[in-house]
Symmetry: C2
Subunit: 149 residues, 2 copies
DNA sequence: TATTGTTATACTCTATAACTATA
DNA sequence: TATAGTTATAGAGTATAACAATA
């Protein structure tokens, strides 16, 4: 049995691309890019967080994150404030406009995504969640193994 | 039960990102980008194909594809030849150097990817493949539903 | 010395549309 | 008229490294 994992890789890539295509079609109608939406969604219902933490949650590296946050600042959706506890740190938070946008589009986006799941049972969802979690763990373990080698 | 699908979306995104991070770490050591590797892998063991077909298989749109193929041509890894049957069509194929590179790196990449699957059983793989296929189908059906609406 | 964030560089990909040359 | 591919445009994300301010 050689490379029986190949169909899994192919299906993973295709499932993700189908998700991404479906999701981003909606996001682009909101005049946001997927990374910008990710940041708005991450900052929603919080009082803000340092750029470092925002980068960890969205998997955007710091050099890139500065640019994405700049563009959201130009749109008046987020703002930077100095951290009270660390002079090196900038806290990013939604502006009132950003909060209003979040309150409007986040539920709408969930409703849009829900349309894709109407044919799947609760059992299906649990099974998928477990399988995907194991897959993620497998890649992370392999990467960690490579690092120490 | 509201939005029970959300963990599935999160796990899908994280599993894909873990896969992408692991896979592309190897690809970058080969001095290729992921789209470039995708093209080399698609052209390997073929006699070439029109840009249109290459775009369909790699999910790269035609305007972008011209640029990616240009960069691979600069590296002497692929070449364009005129289609014998359709004067509008260009066929892209690996050069001898491209074929040599494919023969060298494709098995190496499979071996690298296999390291991530050592802990998963054949049953696991079948289950994952089925779940991912259903997920992809769900997104594609939702997108098709939106289009006709 | 180490860390947070910005800046700079150079590239790669993306979306979109206009354009050409064939069909 | 429609299709294959190129070109043009403008943006947006990526990797990387050097840098300033602060810890």
């Amino acid at each position: 049995m050689t490379h029986a994992f190949l169909p899994v890789l192919r299906e993973l890539a295709e499932a993700y691309q189908a998700f991404e295509a479906y999701s981003s079609a909606h996001i682009r109608t909101l005049d946001l890019t997927p990374p910008q939406f990710d940041i708005i969604a991450t900052l929603g219902n919080t009082t803000g967080m340092p750029l470092k933490e925002l980068g960890e949650k969205t998997l955007i590296t710091k050099g890139t994150l500065t640019g994405v946050v700049d563009r959201l600042t130009d749109k008046k959706l987020v703002q930077r404030i100095a951290s009270p506890s660390d002079g090196r740190s900038q806290i990013v938070q939604l502006t009132p406009q950003g909060e209003a946008l979040f309150a409007q589009i986040f539920p709408a986006h969930l409703g849009y995504m829900a349309l894709a799941f109407t044919e799947l049972s609760a059992q299906d969802l649990v099974s998928m969640e477990n399988n995907l979690s194991r897959l993620r763990t497998a890649f992370m373990a392999a990467r960690a193994g490579k690092e120490q080698a």
